[in-house]
Symmetry: C2
Subunit: 253 residues, 2 copies
């Protein structure tokens, strides 16, 4: 059994705890949250605390709190020589306090509190300062996921910005598509199969090859007609992405 203490009670902490609970190879020794109210929904077979001085002994301490607070929070932990990891995509490992053996345990997925997720398919990016800890993290990650990657802090940073493009920005484009539909009295659901197919294409075709549409064809007439239907802000986004596609596939529009 790998003994784990989870520090935090947000989306990542909750999903991680549930994933560990569903195995019989991880013992969640304790769950810490600053606020008592955040611990209410926690499975009552788990020991919880709101006091850092009550932390129990474990093999791994997993900090799953807001990125901005991790560095300071880690300095307050009354632990020495323990393996302490964070779960952030954008924070370098060395931002953790120097009194620990440091590591990273970053599940790369978008978590919503109310949606169950099959953890097995979620990639977990691990990093550790020393090799024994890396082996332990690999073992821990492999218990809940079939996709475990050793990724250093620099690689993780670029992975995180790439994730912003394919998740945050993509979702915003869905939102704009939704707005255009609403403004013109068309049900957005008509676009749902297209959205699913666009995403599933990536699984077997590099996106460079999957590209279609007026920007790639340099179909100026359609582009001009499209712009007439858009708000100022939508026009700006349409234009910059059209230019970028056009440049990607040969000379400028």
């Amino acid at each position: 059994m790998i003994r784990v203490v989870i520090l935090g009670a947000g989306n990542v902490a909750t999903h991680l705890s549930n994933a560990f609970l569903n195995t019989n190879k991880v013992d969640i020794i304790q769950l810490y949250s600053r606020k008592k109210s955040s611990l209410k929904h926690i499975d009552n077979q788990i020991n919880t605390t709101t006091n850092l001085n009550d932390l129990k002994t474990a093999d791994v301490y997993i900090i799953a709190i807001t990125d901005d607070e991790i560095a300071l929070f880690s300095s307050k932990l009354p632990l020495k020589n323990s393996l302490v990891v964070h779960t952030s995509g954008s924070l370098a490992m060395n931002k953790l306090h120097d009194k620990f053996r440091k590591g990273v345990f970053y599940p790369l997925q978008t978590f919503s509190k109310n949606k169950k997720i099959d953890f097995k398919s979620i990639p977990i990016c691990i990093e550790a300062k020393n090799n024994d800890d890396l082996i332990l993290l690999e073992k821990l990650a492999s218990i809940i996921s079939k996709n475990v990657y050793q990724i250093n802090s620099k690689q993780r940073e670029s992975l995180h910005v790439a994730a912003v493009f394919v998740n945050n920005f993509v979702n915003h484009l869905y939102h704009i598509g939704n707005k255009i539909c609403m403004n013109h009295n068309v049900p957005f659901e008509i676009l749902e199969p297209l959205i699913q197919e666009t995403a599933s294409k990536v699984l077997y075709l590099p996106p460079y090859e999957a590209q279609t549409g007026p920007a790639k064809r340099k179909d100026e007439k359609t582009i001009k007609n499209h712009l007439l239907l858009l708000t100022n802000n939508q026009q700006k986004i349409y234009t910059i992405l059209t230019q970028s596609i056009s440049t990607t596939y040969g000379e400028k529009l």
Copy 2:
């Protein structure tokens, strides 16, 4: 049996023919293509021609060729009073020649020649000038799809621009994510589960509510760090989308 003639041999024509062939309620009377070579891969149970003067009698003639050529092509068809429809998302119905009964039969999906698609889930947007024709198109569409929508030319135009956002532009963001990964020596496959989850979230949550990330949180530190990792062109896209998200969720960044 509804008798259909398909004019064209590209992706849409091929996928439509296959969908009709898989039912026993549609008779593909004939398939026309300008070039003999395009007809080589056609199932040999279908009659084919490269000569418009040889067109046979049918209930519906479906033009599935490049948008730009539809208007002129339709004027050359030696037909009168027949029901002639096009399959374009962006072309108004009235661009078809006035000598016919006009209509539109627009399957909203991204087609690749080599990938099989389950037509049942593809939305088909239909439009017709007179009501009997609309009923016939609805019948025809319902044979191959469970999602049939009556959409007029104006609505269809806005649907098409929305599709550019959720398909063409989204795919380009996948491409940028892929490039960032390649530039920093990270396997793009790590992002695939995130891409799938982002798309599947739309099915049960409006994209406005699904939004996460530094732009929504107005997390300026992370945004600044991200920009340092990007090329000039990527920075422009990052900045404009970040501003757009930020504006969508309250005051400017």
